[in-house]
């Protein structure tokens, strides 16, 4: 099973949201990592075929998706970033409607809905109106509708946003299981979401795909670039303006800094890199300190 993206480009006026992206995706969980505005959602919409590209194509099993779109969407599950819903529908009704629209048979979808409601812990909310659901529940409903047709390609746009830690973990487990049989593309700007489950990671920045590799290989690139420094307040302040500081810990008057740097940090000790370091290494210019 292969989903291939070739020279995919999308422009909105002067902003190039996706810039000549090339990817080849196979079964497994693929984390799409990038800061806000880096073009993740735009690329996902083009992969789903609901946003026309300016140039480039998406191929599924070597066939351009729009050529046989009806067939393609049968294998597609998409959960958009901005969750839509009919406010007065109940969860059950919404899922039934999505099933009908996806062209599923009644015997099939009634069972499937039961199964998904159970898996996603939504059974009690079956009769609740969607407008009364919390953000986390809503997102779970969004995931449920994407899974109705047992898709081979699952596109999840920031599925973990707004979930509490418990929900996050259970969703992560579910996604990890789904990745065994299908292509799961999942976007996020939160590194920890994909750290443990992603088989491969795509890093996007300003519409361009910077890296597409396994987490291990990506971390290998970071080897020797992460340092820990213990220093006083003054030095710490200097490092914070001059270097990429991933983390600051304060213990009495001692500051422990985690620094990502291309140069060798003299008084630092080299330590093992994590995805957070990788992220900051690439997106430091877009991240402001206030974010922490």
């Amino acid at each position: 099973m292969e989903l291939r993206i070739e020279e995919l480009t999308k422009q909105f006026g002067k902003t190039v949201a996706v810039d000549h992206a090339n990817l080849s995706l196979h079964e497994g969980v693929i984390g799409l990592l990038g800061s806000n505005g880096s073009g993740k959602s735009t690329m996902m919409k083009m992969i789903c075929g609901i946003l026309p590209s300016n140039s480039g194509n998406v191929f599924y099993e070597n066939e351009e998706i729009l050529k046989n779109y009806d067939n393609y969407v049968m294998n597609l599950g998409y959960m958009p970033q901005q969750l839509g819903f009919y406010p007065n529908f109940t969860v059950q009704e919404f899922l039934e409607y999505m099933s009908v629209v996806k062209g599923l048979k009644k015997e099939f979808y009634m069972k499937k809905i039961e199964e998904l409601l159970m898996k996603l812990n939504l059974e009690e909310k079956r009769k609740a109106k969607i407008k009364n659901l919390s953000g986390g529940m809503l997102r779970r409903v969004g995931v449920a509708q994407a899974l109705l047709n047992e898709p081979k390609i699952l596109i999840l746009d920031e599925p973990t946003a707004g979930l509490d830690p418990k929900e996050r973990i259970s969703l992560r487990n579910m996604i990890s299981r789904l990745g065994e049989e299908s292509i799961v593309l999942l976007s996020t700007h939160i590194v920890s979401d994909i750290e443990s489950i992603a088989d491969k990671i795509v890093i996007m920045k300003k519409g361009k795909i910077l890296y597409y590799d396994t987490p291990e290989n990506l971390l290998k690139m970071m080897e020797g670039k992460v340092y820990e420094v213990v220093c006083d307040r003054k030095t710490a302040e200097r490092y914070m303006t001059e270097q990429i500081v991933v983390n600051v810990k304060k213990h009495h008057d001692q500051y422990t800094l985690r620094i990502v740097s291309d140069e060798v940090i003299e008084d630092g000790t080299s330590i093992e890199a994590g995805l957070d370091d990788l992220y900051l290494y690439h997106f430091n210019d877009e991240v402001k300190l206030e974010d922490f």
Partner: protein
């Protein structure tokens, strides 16, 4: 598809506000029908009791039922005798004797009859004139120039209200209006014409006599005149109670009721094509397999909602009226009794035709509103805009009073609700709404309905093409 339509209906009706609005409009219209068509009707029964509203209608229904029959010479004679009897019963005899003197019994007999003895009439007129001058009261008789006709203008009645009721009814045959129309045994009732140089020249205006001068009739092609004559000949000549049918007709031809239904339809349907974008559902639906069917489901839903609202409203009105009086005699020529709505007579239509024609035109007026509002919601993706624009579309003809319209407004839903489109300025015959295409005669209202069918198909085709692509609008 049925399931999709069901969900489209849910999208529209799963809202308390909309459901309450539906109930409010549909039931409110019953109240309005009562207010405009029932409540003001009054009658006085034989016991001199004054009746109002529902009771009056029930009494009148009985009253007219008692007088039913086939209108022919015998029937007319009977009616005339009844009138004379009634005159005798209700006249203030003392007062009348004072005015008419020894001629009083004779006047009762010869009242409103033709070919009288001129000598006699002249004598009566002169004597009465003298008496009136002495008593200083107005002269109560009318007569023709050659003294062959005499009629009591001013009746001295003991029981004014009840007799007025009775006389209204009896005035008919004697003044020859509704009854003579029903009685069409005489050949000369038909319109007679000759054709000179492809132009109709009217020889005798026949049954249209008192309403249409030659010049008017001569504007119409032969087919139209033939059509009118044909209809006239085939009209039923029975007279019976049509109080139920009349009340129903008055209810469904009240444009206020349908105007409110139009507003309801606008509120229900102005969001039909824009709801997805508004609720960000388009991104889900655009990459679903049955996406293309959604547009069709929406179009069908629009039609179903409109037809259902129409059917429920009609059903409610029918139930309401038949609860008051039975709706019967629909095949009888539509002569709406005077006490209900003077001047409203449709001499060439039976009640069934009248109700069906009005109903269909109203339905199409509603459909035109729902087509416009749903197409606008598809085009603009904005429910506020589409509802306001449709309201303007409905209201536009109301702005142009006195027909100072820049273009023909008959195609506008509001105008379609009005009698003019259905039956023309002269609602009795609807001449000027008859249109001749080839050899066939059509009613303008039918052509308007067909026009809307075509417009609807084209507009929806456009919607279908617009919604066809699996693309999320950004």
């Amino acid at each position: 598809m049925a399931k999709m339509i069901l969900f489209e209906l849910k999208k529209i009706f799963k809202s308390k506000f909309k459901l309450i609005l539906c109930a409010f409009v549909l039931l409110g219209n019953l109240w309005m029908s009562h207010y405009y068509n029932v409540q003001y009707i009054s009658a006085v029964n034989e016991n001199k009791m004054e009746l109002h509203g529902v009771e009056a209608l029930r009494y009148l229904d009985q009253f007219y039922s008692d007088l039913k029959g086939t209108v022919n010479a015998t029937y007319l004679k009977d009616i005339e005798m009844k009138k004379t009897e009634m005159l005798k019963r209700f006249m203030d005899h003392d007062k009348s004797k004072e005015v008419f003197g020894e001629y009083y019994p004779m006047i009762l007999e010869i009242n409103d009859k033709e070919n009288l003895d001129p000598e006699l009439v002249k004598e009566i007129v002169e004597t009465t004139e003298k008496t009136c001058k002495q008593l200083n009261i107005p002269f109560p008789l009318s007569y023709n120039d050659d003294y062959t006709y005499l009629k009591i203008d001013m009746l001295y009645l003991t029981d004014y209200k009840h007799t007025r009721q009775a006389f209204w009814y009896f005035d008919g045959p004697l003044q020859s209006t509704p009854f003579m129309q029903i009685l069409n045994e005489e050949e000369n009732q038909k319109i007679e014409y000759i054709v000179v140089n492809n132009q109709v020249k009217i020889k005798d205006t026949g049954f249209a006599d008192s309403f249409w001068p030659y010049e008017w009739l001569e504007k119409y092609p032969v087919q139209v005149i033939d059509y009118l004559n044909d209809r006239y000949e085939n009209m039923s000549s029975s007279y019976d109670s049509t109080v139920g049918a009349t009340t129903l007709f008055n209810c469904i031809s009240n444009y206020m009721i349908w105007l409110l239904n139009m507003l309801l339809i606008i509120v229900l349907l102005a969001d039909v094509f824009s709801t997805e974008q508004r609720h960000k559902m388009d991104q889900y639906l655009a990459c679903a397999k049955e996406y293309k069917k959604i547009t069709m489901a929406k179009i069908l839903t629009v039609l179903i909602v409109t037809v259902t609202i129409f059917a429920i409203q009609m059903g409610l009105l029918y139930g309401f009226v038949s609860w008051i009086v039975p709706i019967k005699n629909l095949d009888v020529q539509a002569v709406i009794p005077n006490c209900l709505m003077p001047l409203r007579r449709f001499d060439l239509f039976t009640f069934k035709e009248l109700l069906i024609r009005t109903g269909i035109t109203v339905l199409f007026a509603l459909l035109s509103v729902s087509i416009v509002t749903s197409v606008l919601s598809c085009l603009t993706q904005n429910r506020i805009f589409s509802s306001i624009a449709t309201m303007l579309f409905v209201a536009l003809p109301m702005v142009f009073i006195n027909n100072t319209t820049p273009f023909n407004m008959d195609y506008f839903p509001f105008e379609m609700l009005r009698m003019d489109t259905l039956f023309g300025n002269n609602i009795r015959f609807g001449f000027n709404q008859l249109i001749c295409i080839g050899e066939n005669v059509y009613y303008k209202a039918s052509i308007i309905c067909v026009g809307w069918v075509i417009a609807g198909i084209l507009l929806y085709l456009f919607c279908y093409l617009k919604e066809r692509r699996h693309i999320v609008r950004s």
